[in-house]
Symmetry: C2
């Protein structure tokens, strides 16, 4: 089977990670592939923020868990790298653009042997005053909307099973 | 280079097509890969509608061109296949889910040698009374939001050039 089709079909969302960090060359390849996601009118509205330090990770964990209403949980499942995707809110296709970046991150990760999962609630995080202050502290100016977090790492335990696809996903008319 | 990374980075949006139809096995591989795009909570909210007949294609062309305000144009650039992606409006992640399906369609297409482009304005098309009637005529019941059209075909002319990525796409904090 075509290798890329295999990657697209066999990528799974992984929800348990070992603490060991992914290799820098893997991260760079994943980020690079994501910058080539298409965007409406090639406006390239998204940005990616790579978080690997324990202090920032804990801040995000606390904020995300609070949005979820489970303050003691780790919504990032122990993954050692979090890539936050945001997009320029003034661009009409900002959610679509940011989602395609997320998709390329997840597919590229699987292509290089890194596990991943889309963790949501980035919008609530970065619409808050605390989130806006974080963006400013990172040097990100402008009105950005949080699209998602792509967590990256090496899984703990078995690879997730392939789930059945729904009936009627495709209509041939 | 890893074949999948190459596909993700070298896929381009193609805006000129030959009339010849893509091969059925290519279409099936592309659609199949798209059904494996991740969706929030695995709800699989999107559906795909494959349009290849001239009458329906002309209806979509007219509707899309009207939204664009250029009624005589062909927003689908002559592509012989249009895959409409819609998603269940009642699902909070419907736009993100549908966008990931669009992403897998475009990446899978490039993987098998088919050109593609995201054509927008599906939301306006299927929010209209005419669009809703089309969905019903195709047997699609429920409240669906149009996410995009993935046009598929073989390009006319040269492969588009790689465009520069913006500065500061990635922040390492």
């Amino acid at each position: 089977m075509n290798e890329t089709l295999h990657v697209l079909e066999e990528r799974r969302s992984v929800r348990a990670y070992r603490p060991e960090q992914i290799r820098e060359e893997q991260l760079e390849a994943i980020l690079r592939a994501a910058t080539y996601a298409p965007t409406g009118m090639n406006r390239q509205s998204p940005v990616m923020v790579v978080v690997q330090d324990a202090v920032t990770r804990e801040t995000l964990r606390r904020m995300n868990a609070a949005v979820m209403g489970r303050p003691d949980s780790d919504p990032f499942y122990g993954a050692p790298t979090i890539v936050i995707v945001l997009a320029n809110r003034g661009v009409s296709t900002c959610i679509e653009d940011g989602s395609l970046v997320m998709g390329n991150l997840m597919n590229a990760a699987h292509a290089v042997g890194v596990d991943s999962c889309w963790i949501h609630r980035a919008r609530e995080e970065f619409d808050s005053e605390e989130g806006r202050a974080l963006l400013r502290s990172w040097g990100i100016e402008g009105d950005y909307i949080g699209i998602g977090h792509c967590i990256l790492g090496y899984r703990e335990g078995d690879y997730p099973e392939k789930r059945a696809r729904k009936e009627n996903y495709v209509y041939r008319i």
